[in-house]
């Protein structure tokens, strides 16, 4: 038995419940008579309690139980005040903290601080036995297997699973962990909260010949009383990341799995066809077979991409909480509206844009909206792209101020400032070292600026668009590809080495004569239509020897750090569609590439992240 597998399932499921709970809680204010929502919250806490208990995570189970109790009062019709919501949110935070401890194999943090904190006047919560309020009754079960049963561990796991279907398991001895560690266990002790009567439970197990003895009682065994030796801990809540994204397990629709197995079957057949055709040298059949293989692979790729897809809601749910906390703190009234959160994107992309999205929403609340307003996050599908729009109805961005500031910071020249259009001026906020507010606020002063947002979007082969008008708020759009894996690249050569640039980042390619190059100080420039654009040498950037000058120069024009730049390369080879592979850790941290691809002839080519390796020297 693989304990790690159970644990990762637990982590992802509990994480999901927590995420739902915190989203529900934020929206429950002002709608406290929403029965469905309260019931769903209650079920969330209940499920977490059950799962945690069966895995032997006692603190987590206890805390979930505690929250379940408080929620039950609201279920009975007690109105929910903002303070109640705060407290419940704190509880959910603490549960997330515990989950984090568990995922990192740390001991569970202390919860006594929270559970013993008085709940204002509702002290009675603690006094009432939980079972009195709800229907379920607690049964204490002991189950003993026959001596001759093979693989008792598997049996016990099975039974604990079936018991879960009957109700909520609270204390399991031995714990699932102990069972799976392989020691010989032939009995199981647990308490089960269930609507069923003892007789009904007994009946559910009568068809199992492996059980030699099953006793069910309503009284706990004598030694089963909890010891209370908890001290308060002072660990702060961990950072709230999009847990389920990184948890490493995916739930897959069984229909998809069926399609996978069918495709695999077809691939096996295809392989035999190809082998036979080759052996018998029937070239036509070989050709047909290869055509068929192409289709199968494309189909397979499509299906795999589907499995990787997740709804954008997985990263927008936590925004409600952020906006709520932020506006309460700043004394503003900000509503968040999310549209199209059901649209799906590759999980790798979602992972990368989660923080940028959060940052932009924070920005909108913090700097955009003055007193009262709405932040909208609108997600739309546009052919092979997904557009995420972050819009606020606040004061908007003043392009004049942006110009002044960029000039002040020496990021642009006076002449540039003069000729720059408002639209281009707005893009200035993406320059590294540019920040629109002088004071660092707690909310936006988190080390992520718009330059980081832009870099993250572009690393994904996406585009960031900024639009704003004074007094009419701002609109920032992230245009993202649906999936990361397959992209179009431009192959280039430098110093006899093959490299690639993502085609989507390239505006145009040029062949120019050396005489056309002008210089201003140490900076080389080229006049392209109306504009003068600076040149950088890829050879120099990559510390390659600089070759003797040739007459013709190959140029790739792309946008770097918000400016058009001409990248000088030795040779432009052509373009191609490739499947990009991330470098294995820790090599994925090397600056300079965004992964590699294997070309049809077996050559390996790496996708250059020009901005990445120039970044360090800017």
């Amino acid at each position: 038995m693989d304990m790690a597998k159970f644990k990762s399932m637990f982590l992802s499921e509990a994480g999901e419940h927590l995420k739902n709970m915190s989203a529900q809680l934020v929206t429950i204010e002002g709608a406290s008579d929403d029965r469905d929502r309260i019931n769903s919250l209650f079920r969330g806490a209940h499920s977490i309690k059950g799962m945690a208990a069966s895995m032997g995570y006692e603190k987590m189970a206890e805390l979930a139980h505690h929250l379940e109790d408080s929620l039950d009062h609201f279920r009975q019709g007690k109105p929910i005040s903002p303070t109640d919501v705060d407290r419940l949110l704190d509880g959910v935070d603490l549960l997330e903290g515990l989950l984090e401890d568990i995922s990192q194999d740390l001991p569970e943090r202390e919860i006594a601080d929270f559970t013993t904190r008085p709940v204002d006047q509702k002290q009675s919560v603690e006094d009432q036995p939980p079972a009195a309020a709800a229907n379920p009754v607690t049964h204490y079960l002991q189950l003993i297997l026959h001596d001759n049963v093979v693989s008792p561990a598997a049996r016990l796991l099975l039974f604990s699973k079936s018991l879960e279907r009957l109700g909520t398991i609270d204390r399991l001895v031995p714990s699932l962990e102990q069972i799976m560690n392989g020691q010989e266990h032939r009995s199981l002790q647990l308490s089960l909260q269930s609507d069923l009567t003892a007789a009904e439970i007994e009946q559910a197990f009568q068809d199992y010949p492996e059980i030699s003895q099953l006793s069910i009682s309503s009284e706990p065994p004598a030694e089963e009383r909890r010891k209370d030796d908890r001290r308060s801990g002072d660990r702060r809540q961990g950072d709230r990341r999009a847990q389920s994204l990184t948890a490493g397990t995916v739930r897959v629709d069984t229909n998809l799995l069926d399609q996978f197995i069918n495709l695999t079957g077809e691939l096996v057949t295809n392989r035999h066809i190809l082998q036979t055709a080759l052996a018998e040298q029937r070239w036509n059949e070989l050709n047909d077979g290869l055509g068929q293989l192409g289709k199968l692979v494309k189909n397979l790729h499509g299906q795999v991409v589907k499995v990787r897809m997740m709804p954008v809601s997985s990263i927008t749910e936590r925004l409600y909480r952020v906006v709520r906390d932020l506006s309460r703190k700043a004394g503003k009234e900000v509503a968040l509206k999310v549209e199209g959160a059901e649209i799906e994107l590759d999980r790798a992309i979602l992972e990368e844009v989660a923080d940028p999205l959060m940052h932009m929403v924070r920005n909108a609340v913090d700097h955009g909206i003055e007193q009262q307003g709405t932040v909208q996050v609108r997600i739309r599908r546009q052919r092979s792209h997904v557009h995420i729009l972050i819009k606020d109805d606040g004061r908007g961005i003043d392009p004049r101020k942006l110009r002044e500031r960029a000039l002040e910071k020496g990021l642009i020249s006076p002449k540039q400032a003069e000729t720059m259009s408002d639209m281009n001026a707005l893009q200035l906020i993406c320059l590294p070292g540019f920040s629109t507010t002088t004071e660092v606020t707690e909310t936006s002063g988190r080390g992520v600026g718009m330059d980081v947002v832009k870099a993250a979007v572009e690393k994904l082969d996406g585009i960031l668009q900024i639009d704003s008008a004074l007094g009419e708020g701002s609109r920032i759009t992230m245009k993202l590809p649906l999936s990361v894996a397959i992209i179009r690249i431009l192959l280039i050569r430098c110093n006899d080495r093959l490299m690639a640039l993502p085609l989507s980042r390239i505006q145009q390619t040029h062949q120019i004569e050396r005489e056309e190059i002008q210089s201003r100080g140490r900076q080389l420039l080229i006049q392209l239509k109306e504009e003068k654009i600076p040149l950088i040498s890829l050879r120099k950037s990559l510390h390659m020897p600089v070759p003797p000058a040739t007459n013709r120069v190959s140029l790739v024009v792309m946008e770097l750090f918000g400016r058009k730049v001409g990248v000088v390369v030795d040779q432009i080879v052509g373009h191609q569609e490739v499947f990009v592979k991330k470098m294995p850790a820790p090599f994925d941290r090397l600056p300079g590439t965004n992964g590699g691809a294997v070309l049809g002839d077996g050559q390996v080519v790496f996708i250059l992240d020009v901005q990445g390796f120039l970044g360090g020297r800017r």
Binding site: M499, L542, K581, P584, P586, F587, G596
Partner: protein
């Protein structure tokens, strides 16, 4: 009994347990990896997988230079990379007790155990330590 694959790095003799090695690759073509530190020679294509090539002699402080045509690929758990060395020797069968912890740990060379074999000292590379060093190497600020 332990099977050890000894290999030469500069003038030093090093080794890895055979169980830690997935395979040896002969004369793979090494492709350019932009932005890589000196100790990473590039990457190879191993059955469609892209593996970075670590220049072990240089990492351990020996001189730069041509390396052996044969590279060592450790098992997946021990890292997804290929190791370039100066020469690969043939496998030894050593008795476990002959492997001893070394007096002073060669942290830079990721060695904690040594094997005395036929009058020669073979330093056994600890892949966990190696992985940590590679991690530092790949830090944007480190290396």
């Amino acid at each position: 009994m332990v099977q050890i694959l000894p290999f030469q790095l500069g003038e030093g003799l090093y080794g890895l347990e055979l169980t830690q090695i997935q395979q040896l690759v002969d004369e793979p073509r090494v492709f350019y990896l932009p932005g890589a530190p000196e100790e990473v020679l590039g990457a190879i294509n191993l059955h469609g997988r892209i593996l970075p090539v670590l220049d072990l002699p240089q990492l351990f402080g020996f001189a730069k230079g041509e390396r052996a045509k044969r590279m060592i690929v450790p098992t997946d758990q021990d890292g997804v990379l290929a190791l370039a060395v100066d020469r690969v020797h043939s496998v030894l069968n050593a008795a476990s007790p002959m492997i001893k912890p070394c007096q002073n740990v060669f942290a830079k060379e990721c060695v904690t155990d040594v094997l005395d074999w036929d009058g020669k000292r073979i330093r056994l590379v600890d892949l966990n330590m190696l992985r940590e060093r590679v991690g530092q190497l790949c830090e944007p600020t480190g290396g």
